[in-house]
């Protein structure tokens, strides 16, 4: 059957047969880098288009509909405009930090793509601490945001950056704890193991209450971590104009923008992997007929389908809810989400020890 795993294996074999191992490895690096950058760009284009269409659909509008059929090339036109736009640097800005910040944020967003499993056997790096790697690396992006806010020499940016710092540092805790609930049940940090453990049912189905709670907390926490409404305090448009990227223009602004969307993709992919079985098709117990039909759908479709479903949910949040205030945001985390996820982790541990899950 057609699968990304076969293609990857064939390319790998051909490279190692044709060239000596060092050269072959180098070629593989180049191919992976090109693919990662390609995916990055494609995600930016698709997610921005999707956001605009989803928001238009919710707001009684049409959304982009001029450039290309149904406006699908609108994002490309916008990107082109941003590329040719002058990149302004404000007076009194810390030039070095100001220029590094967007690249740092973008690099972080790209690096966390590495351990994700896009399809059956199709993964850049099956590191044994995959989930830990993602949570650890993704928290570096807050440094980029703080750098941008500080270096801009703008009070709005500074306020936005400080908010962002407080927000991401606190919400990482409950995001991490809700991830741990699944890790405890799986017993592995490796993403391929976590997906393999869901072969006979996704964790959301067989994990009982703790996994449901963990799933809800995870969605709330990652929405906050990616600075999306209703937790978009870092760029709260009606309060801080544009928050930490007020002073950025042109391509540097676009990098922040792209990184935001790729971060959304990464956290939704992680959510899909942990709770919804990654590339695993939907199986219903012993109903072999149904299971067979589900198996015909390629694994890459399953993975991206689940991820985009979660992305849609997060977009739905954004276009529905008002924004929280900064103190309410921190109350929500420290008074409710964190204690609940701690108790939830104990529950999950109990279930794992007693083997109560399916």
């Amino acid at each position: 059957m057609w699968s990304l795993q076969n293609i990857a294996d064939k390319v790998h074999d051909w490279l190692y047969l044709t060239f000596n191992p060092t050269l072959a490895m180098l070629f593989e690096f180049v191919i992976i880098g090109a693919l990662a950058i390609g995916l990055f760009a494609m995600l930016g284009l698709i997610l921005i288009y999707m956001e605009r269409k989803v928001s238009a659909w919710m707001q009684l509008r049409l959304g982009p509909n001029r450039v290309g059929p149904k406006g699908i090339f609108q994002t490309m036109a916008d990107t082109l405009k941003l590329i040719v736009k002058e990149g302004m640097t404000p007076d009194g800005a810390d030039k070095l930090l100001f220029h590094i910040a967007p690249f740092l944020v973008m690099i972080v967003a790209m690096v966390v793509l590495a351990p994700l499993m896009f399809a059956k056997g199709f993964q850049i790096w099956d590191i044994n601490i995959g989930v830990f790697f993602i949570t650890a690396v993704s928290s570096i992006s807050v440094i980029g945001v703080l750098m941008a806010g500080w270096a801009s020499n703008n009070k709005y940016s500074l306020l936005g950056a400080m908010r962002s710092g407080a927000q991401i540092v606190s919400y990482e805790l409950s995001a991490g704890l809700s991830i741990l609930a699944v890790i405890v049940l799986t017993g592995s940090l490796k993403l391929s193991d976590i997906i393999a453990s869901q072969e006979n049912g996704w964790w959301i189905f067989k994990g009982h209450l703790p996994v449901w709670i963990a799933f809800v907390i995870f969605i709330i926490a990652v929405t906050a971590e990616t600075n999306r409404a209703p937790f978009d305090l870092a760029e709260a448009e009606s309060e801080l104009t544009a928050g930490f990227h007020t002073e950025y223009s042109g391509m540097k602004f676009a990098l922040f923008f792209l990184a935001e969307y790729v971060n959304i993709f990464v956290v939704c992919a992680l959510g899909a992997t942990l709770f919804l079985g990654g590339w695993m098709p939907l199986h219903f117990g012993t109903n072999t007929q149904f299971n067979k039909v589900m198996d015909y759908i390629p694994s890459v479709v399953w993975f991206f389908g689940k991820t985009f479903f979660l992305i849609f949910v997060i977009m739905w949040f954004r276009w529905t809810f008002p924004r929280l205030r900064i103190d309410q945001l921190l109350h929500l985390e420290w008074k409710y989400l964190l204690p609940i996820s701690m108790i939830n982790l104990l529950l999950a541990t109990l279930i794992a020890i007693m083997n109560w899950h399916f």
């Binding site: 919710m58 707001q59 009684l60 306020l159 908010r163 809810f321 900064i326 309410q328």
Partner: protein, 371 residues
Amino acid sequence: MTEEVVITDQDDLIINVGPQHPSTHGVLHLVITLNGETVKKVEPHLGYIHRSIEKMCESLTYRQFIYTTSRMDYLSSHINNHCCAMCVEKGLQVEVPPRAQVIRVLMDELTRLASHQLWWGALAMDVGALTPFFLAFREREMINDIMEETCGTRLTMNYMVPGGVMADIHPNFQRRVHEFLAHFKRKIDEYDELITDNIIFQNRTKGIGFISKEDAISYGMSGPSARGSGVQCDIRKLYPYEVYDKLQFKEIIESGGDCFARYMVRMKEMKQSMSIVEQLIDNIPEGDFQAKTKNVLKLPKGEFYSRVETARGELGVYIISEGGTTPYRIKFRSPGYSNLSALDHMTRGQKIGDMVAIMGTLDLVIPDIDR
């Protein structure tokens, strides 16, 4: 009023909000002193859209000056025009025909509805929800279409003239108003589901921007903003004009004094305006739509004052006449100016996000403040 004097020390962060800022809804400039996220002081700076309308009116005739007032509070232009026309009629001692009176009240209430709809969308946008703005515009568009048919314009109406209204209502007017009422009655429940009952919105507005009844009176607040603090100040009830004394409606008063109370006053006023329109729309008396007036209006020597309830509060028009064709001096008492003056009092000790919500519930229209 005694207020603690704020001494700005070096740790304070002073930020210029505006003149171009998404949440000031116009060219309002606020200098805010911050201690971290907490607002210590708000200092409004005015004058960015000052067009000296009062001075301009001194060289315009009594028919002409009404048109400039559409540009003051552009969201309730009918009501502004209405107030000026009433003031001139007082001087001329003209009796407005019953048909014109009813049409005027209908237009006033439709304008109030349109203005409150826009306010609802803008407030939701201030607290971070973008979608309601588009929903509000869907309904506002219907009112604008009704206005366009009858008055010829959609924003600056210039429909009220001394002695009545400029033209008779369009034949479609009643049918389309009925359509609008049927539509909006369903949609206002949607508004409640989406924003009023939303827990985040309630957290953002309950207990925020409190102003007591006494303070509201001493700041000269009026309109829905003051009625949210329990002040009785509805001019339609206190000093009824046109046919308001024959209508069945209650003054809406909330005692909370916070943003949510002001919000609820306006939400209930929308329902109230609908009921007023419903009472009148099928009972428009036949007759003239304009009283006979001379071509050149001359007010007798003296001082004339009229007041109406706009969507934002009490609008007063004060004309001093020397007996000529143009006023000697005109003074407008605009509701936004006094409401804005209470902003500092309400905002102290609150967060930046609250300041935006408070400004949203005050429903400021900057050209009304600056004139």
